[in-house]
Amino acid sequence: MNDTELRTAVRESVAGIHSATPVAQIISRGRAVRARRRIPAVAGALGAAAGTALVLTALLPAGHAGPPSGDQELLPSGHPASRPVSVRLAAWTVARQANGDIDVTINQLEDPAGLQATLRADGLPVNVTFSGSMLSASCLPYQTGPVNTLRSVTQIRGEVLVIDPSALPSGAGVAIFDEPGGGLPVLSGNTPTLGAPQGRPSLPPLLTALKGPLAVGLVYASPQCTG
């Protein structure tokens, strides 16, 4: 039996297995997934507002199932329980888009705890530090290997870090920190410069921000690291 015959045999061995779930059922379930994502975002952001002087505004209605809108503006707040929430401060801005993406704009390296709390309130497992490496005993880099995994989760559009929580691998979280190149492999722009320093294990690629000494990477999610 040569390779081709074996490949054909394997494919044919499962060819009789078909999905019996109607697409309408999948879409209905997908709507439930979207709804689940919005609940912690709204509740968490409201909690953050009680402790800080954050500005809460609302965007599109919860029932909106239309296409993503990357250029939407902040609108006057309506019913808070039915709308994605945005937080805007001088130091940083977090905007939850209707498509589930979280847009983060960091203007000043201030209040990392507030940014971390806001993002966690949005349901994102995240660790934010503006005073050192993301690495610690409880916050370890996620061993994904390919750069594309990180890119599917985070993208930098202009000055905005766009995070897609739904693309996070299971068990992974996001780390935002300010130590690019500190002994870690760094991805600058579109050119990966991989390769761990001597004596250290291979680490996942990181993505440097376009402005400032910020970097973002994936870490293993844990209560100690990502909340």
Partner: protein, 172 residues
């Protein structure tokens, strides 16, 4: 893209990819009901993030990766694994509507089920989903060279398992 276009776009993708994704996940997780549940959940998440999944270079790979990740999460929550006493048990499950269990070749399926988990995943992605080595490596988070090594070992094991039966068939 309007809501109607989005739905029809996703529906077309689902119709074209659902069977292959289910087959690939089934070979990976070895249990048909679990595979069906994981694939349904993965497609639901794909619909919820369709704006980005549709731009993914290999949406089928995204679905399978999501399904496998969901399976890992489920396993971690339960902290136990459903035992599979008979490697060919998957073929004994009741057939779903319009689906015949007899269409599954029990010898090959049993040989597949005897492979280690990683080799099954590589076989599922490379041979059933027809991903290339790089795509398979990304889905599984391993190096391309490791994919090729696993595939080589899996092919050798399958050939070893199936060769005597096929030779016997040819003689008779």
């Amino acid at each position: 893209m309007g809501v109607g276009t989005q739905q029809s776009d996703f529906a077309e993708f689902y119709r074209s990819a659902a069977d292959e994704c289910l087959q690939a996940v089934l070979v990976s997780v070895r249990d048909r009901d679990t595979a069906r549940e994981l694939v349904d959940e993965a497609f639901a998440r794909a619909w919820a993030s369709w704006h980005s999944v549709r731009r993914h270079p290999a949406p089928k790979a995204w679905v399978v990766r999501t399904a496998l990740n969901a399976g890992i999460s489920r396993w971690r929550r339960r902290r136990r694994e459903v035992p599979v006493s008979d490697p060919a048990r998957v073929t004994d499950l009741p057939a779903a509507s319009g689906e015949s269990a007899s269409l599954v070749d029990p010898r090959i399926m049993a040989a597949l089920m005897r492979l280690p988990a990683r080799q099954r995943q590589v076989v599922a992605l490379r041979l059933i989903l027809d991903l290339d080595t790089a795509e398979t490596a990304e889905v599984l988070g391993i190096a391309p060279g490791t994919v090729m090594a696993h595939l080589g070992r899996a092919m050798a094991a399958l050939r070893h398992d199936l060769q005597p039966e096929l030779q016997q068939e040819n003689r008779s």
